[in-house]
Amino acid sequence: MATSTTPRDVAAPDRPPGAGASTKAPSRRPRRTLLPYLLLAPAIVLELAIHVVPMLVGAWMSLLELTQFHIRDWSTAPFVGLDNYRMVLDFDSAAGAELLQSFWVTVVYTVASVGISWVLGTAAAVLLQRPFRGRGILRALFLTPYALPVYTAVITWSFLFQRDTGLVNHVLVDQLHLFGDRPFWLIGENSFAALLIVSVWRSWPFAFLCVMAGLQNIPGDLYEAAAMDGAGFWRRLRSVTLPMLRPVNLVLLLVLFLWTFNDFNTPYVLFGGSAPDQADLISIHIYRSSFKTWDFGSGSAMSVALLLFLLVVTAGYLLITNRRRNDA
């Protein structure tokens, strides 16, 4: 995060003098063309080192049989071409079937988490749109989950979800008497719900924050005009707020989708590295396939396949939404 914002922060104050130079001193023009690149250079170097190069290495690893016999010296790892892909994408085999199952779990998890987070975030932002006493406190309160370090927050959740000593069961069973038997949350069928709850808890404040920012840009007279035309709350929401929020929502949903689909920290901390089948997200599955079984080749093949899938989804999403925008 820090690396990508730095250049922007540095570049911004530089713009006014640059713009002024073009009218006053033509001799400074060559410097003006170089400067942006110079300022971008650190970001590009870091981007290459942190994102692009490891990604390429991952792609390379997926073509090797990289097990414990070879991890110390990769040059000894046999080149197996697409064998790793054949193995992990063979959905009739045990490994492939598990990957497919994990993929579907992740799809359902992502759709549910992004959907609920977006609805919650938008609802909260709209309700807090008009000033009232205590609005600032509520805003700060709603943003707390986003501000907490993920490990601390999820470890706390894992305590809450414990069967015998957790607060969740204490409330549900001991106080509300909703269940006769204490349910499990961290193993078995409920583990998916537990994971989803933590995920929504963590990501809805971000939706709230984005939508809240988007709402600031909607001119008040639009609402006034709508009100004069006799539009009620729901009508204004449907015809003014949501259409005006469209650009924000486009980006917000994409970002939430990518974050949630790739989420590793939440399941890892909640379930400790070996998630139950019902909550076996693909990131955890890949981790288990490479680190726990020491087979980095097939783990990388899964990662690359996942990367391609996300690329296709993202490209498709951007294409469709752009076309709609152009049509409009």
Partner: protein, 425 residues
């Protein structure tokens, strides 16, 4: 692609450099210790005075980091891959062959063993669990451990039980008498793959099963292994002497349950230090050997523990191999073996101090007897750590089934074990 990989390797090395304190002064070693005592901090306080002693003797400074068990194997793997990191490390002895296969560890051939005191110093069974048979060991033994049955004396007396069970049938019977009123007969660490795998091994031996064949290929789903795993999970599923909540235990909550009197029995390695830290007095519990089957099937072995223990290994990438071996020699010296094993409740890995008075407590006596007569090493094959992960996780899922009221049948056990085996490559 080649260029990218080469570039990546270079950049990765550059990134790792900041971590490599071994690259600094020639007289400094980095040592990763495993968590043997009640907490990481307690371990550090145990080790630091000894390391200071070593520095005074040799001038070699040792920086110790106590690494939790949940991270240790990953950290070792990262160090082996990058060639960066510590000089000397503790490893679970069952990982020896797996780590040996990476080629990242210094081989203790006879000449190297001589530098740390000679091959004959070490307990033979412990040294045999330091690498694949027929190869120079990849480590030397440091602490020796084994499983024992810990039982709550008061709970036994209250229920009118005179002596600890010696067979699983008796254990189930005893457990039923002790279960009730929010208390349970036995506590297990159901969501901890390593613990599960260790028990799978012991039960497997008793049923005559093997987890790997002679060629090192996995044989997870043999009828013997299915019966063994089912017997273990049945302690919760059919005997109902284990609290279903134990299916989510992975942070030693079973030890706490035993210490707090919520469970009357526990199968554990050197629990004494941990129990003491949770205010359970040593005279509040008894220690007995882990039970056997009353009527072992054909081929069943009289084994009731793995040869457990901690080994000390040296990374080949160390820039101070002599200093590192000096440190290994120090840690396996008579004085340190007595001091450290006494604190941790484990047994010395060298023969010279086996009869020291420090190891005459009941806990150590049971351990000694078990290790000498009825313990067997886990298979020393390169895939051993994968076995622990996959089979241990399969058993975790079976415990989850049992806790959720789903039937655990021979068929469901076999299915899980077959699935685990298919993930081996």
């Amino acid at each position: 692609m080649f260029a990218a990989a080469a570039l990546a390797a270079a950049s990765l090395t550059a990134c790792g450099d900041s971590d490599g304190s071994s690259a600094g002064s020639a007289k400094t070693l980095t040592y990763w210790a495993s968590n043997q005592g009640a907490s990481l901090e307690a371990d550090k306080q145990t080790l630091q005075p000894e390391l200071d002693k070593f520095e005074k003797q040799t001038g070699i400074k040792v920086n110790v980091e106590v690494v939790p068990w949940s991270d240790l194997l990953n950290r070792l793997l990262a160090a082996a891959t990058s060639g960066q990191g510590p000089d000397v490390v503790n490893i679970g002895n069952t990982w020896s062959a797996s780590l040996q296969a990476t080629g990242a560890m210094v081989e203790f051939d006879d000449a190297t063993l001589d530098k740390v005191g000679g091959k004959d110093r070490f307990v033979p069974a412990a040294l045999a669990a330091a690498g694949a048979p027929g190869k120079p060991p990849a480590a030397v033994p440091l602490y020796s451990l084994g499983y024992a049955l810990y039982y709550n004396k008061k709970a036994f007396a209250d229920a009118g039980i005179a002596s600890p069970p010696t067979t699983w049938e008796q254990l189930a019977e005893t457990g039923r008498k002790l279960t009730g009123g929010g208390k349970w007969g036995l506590a297990v660490e159901g969501a901890n793959p390593s613990e599960n795998a260790h028990h799978a091994f012991t039960f497997g031996q008793q049923y005559g099963g093997e987890w790997f064949d002679a060629a090192g290929k996995p044989t997870f789903d043999t009828p013997q292994n299915v019966a063994a795993v089912k017997r273990y999970v049945d302690l919760m599923a059919t005997d109902k002497i284990v609290n279903p909540s134990n299916a989510e235990y992975a942070q030693n909550q079973s030890v706490s349950d035993f210490a707090n009197g919520k469970a009357a029995m526990l199968l554990w390695q050197a629990a004494g230090a941990n129990l003491k830290s949770q205010n359970m007095a040593p005279d509040a519990y008894g220690i007995a050997p882990v039970p056997f089957l009353a009527a072992p099937p054909a081929g069943g072995k009289k084994v009731n523990s793995m040869v457990a223990g901690i080994n000390l290994a040296v990374f080949k990438h160390t820039k101070n191999k002599d200093a590192a071996l000096e440190f290994v020699k120090f840690m396996t010296s008579d004085a340190e073996q007595v001091a450290l094993n006494k604190t941790y409740g484990s047994l010395p890995a060298v023969t010279t101090v086996a009869n020291d008075a420090a190891f005459s407590a009941p806990e150590q006596k049971v351990l000694q007897q078990t290790l000498a007569t009825t313990a067997a090493p886990l298979p020393q094959v390169p895939d051993e750590s994968t076995f622990e992960t996959l089979v241990g996780t399969a058993i975790k899922e079976l415990f989850a089934d049992a806790a959720g009221g789903k039937p655990v049948t021979e068929e469901s056990v076999r299915q899980k074990l077959t699935q685990a085996q298919q993930q081996m490559r």
